[in-house]
């Protein structure tokens, strides 16, 4: 077996290798002074890091925070959890989107085909026409008169 990579050696020192890999490396280690030396350096480093002073606060932090902890913790706020199961903004966003789309669609109908097809031009409107639009002409002279009107 060739020497393992440094990250494998480091994981071995942490007992974090898979059992088969660990056993293979252990066997290699017995005959490899280079790996033995590197492992010893990692173990010494760990020992020294553990020996570093452990600074403490030196007072009871909880009593200092007491006043600020009196407010109850925030509860999670989910408006429609049963319906959507997701964050509360999804239904609101969806409703806003639908409203926008339907508004654009209705506006499009009015602006595009609607005006030309259904709304008569002002000159064609005969508010005081004696015969209502589509009605039968009761007196021929009146109808003719109306047709001559501008």
């Amino acid at each position: 077996m060739t020497c393992p990579r440094h990250d494998e050696l480091s994981a071995y020192a942490d007992q974090a290798l898979a059992p088969r890999k660990h056993a293979r490396f252990e066997q290699h280690l017995q005959g490899c002074p280079v790996c033995q030396q590197q492992l010893a350096a990692l173990q010494a480093l760990r020992h020294d890091l553990h020996a570093l002073p452990s600074p403490t606060l030196g007072f009871d932090l909880a009593s200092r925070l007491e006043g600020r902890l009196q407010r109850p913790p925030r509860r999670r706020h989910r408006p429609w959890p049963a319906l959507w199961g997701g964050p509360g903004w999804i239904p609101a966003g969806l409703a806003a989107g639908l409203a926008l789309v339907s508004g654009v669609w209705l506006g499009g109908l009015l602006l595009a085909g609607g005006s030309a097809a259904t709304v008569p031009r002002a000159a064609m409107v005969r508010v005081f026409d004696p015969v209502p639009p589509g009605g039968l002409c009761a007196a021929a002279e009146l109808c003719r008169l109306s047709k001559g009107m501008p």
């Binding site: 440094h6 990250d7 050696l9 480091s10 994981a11 942490d14 974090a16 350096a41 990692l42 480093l45 760990r46 020294d48 890091l49 553990h50 020996a51 570093l52 002073p53 452990s54 600074p55 403490t56 606060l57 009871d60 932090l61 909880a62 009593s63 200092r64 925070l65 007491e66 600020r68 902890l69 009196q70 109850p72 913790p73 925030r74 509860r75 999670r76």
Partner: protein, 185 residues
Amino acid sequence: MRTLLRHLDDSECLARARQGEVAAFSELVARYQDRIYRFLLRLTRSPDDALELTQETFLNAYQALARWQPEAQFTTWLFRIARNQAFDWLRRGKRAEFVALDEEQEHGLADPGPGPDATLETTQRLRGLERALARLPTEHREILLLREIEDLSYEDIATVLDISLGTVKSRIARARASLLDKMPR
């Protein structure tokens, strides 16, 4: 009141705290305040800022209690909050890249054991180590603190730092190599 809570484990204290029992949360603060402070102190290299961030960590944890999942370990969750606090602080540019240890901190080095020569040698080695640790990039320093000083498993470190197990393994190895490289010969 808190003495009665000492026999409870973390998850029992958390359950009570979630019900609004402040004393149960105070018990958790008492259990973890020094670990969180120690971690933040070595990340920020500033006792005042570490104290402020420790307070913020617990206040944020308290406010976020509703989001805590019972299957998550409280320690991991707390370290994750602390680490995010520290990184926000670092991003705001409130630090010097390297701040030397002051006299008081240096004299606080652990008593290594018998013999004046051995004592002196060990003290000097530990001072060198503390300085080398302070010179590491934050990314390397935080992972070594979590692994070597806080004894977190690879899985817990992956959760705290939100990285994959493979990244934890390779980053720890690089951090160790880098620290050994910076150590005085």
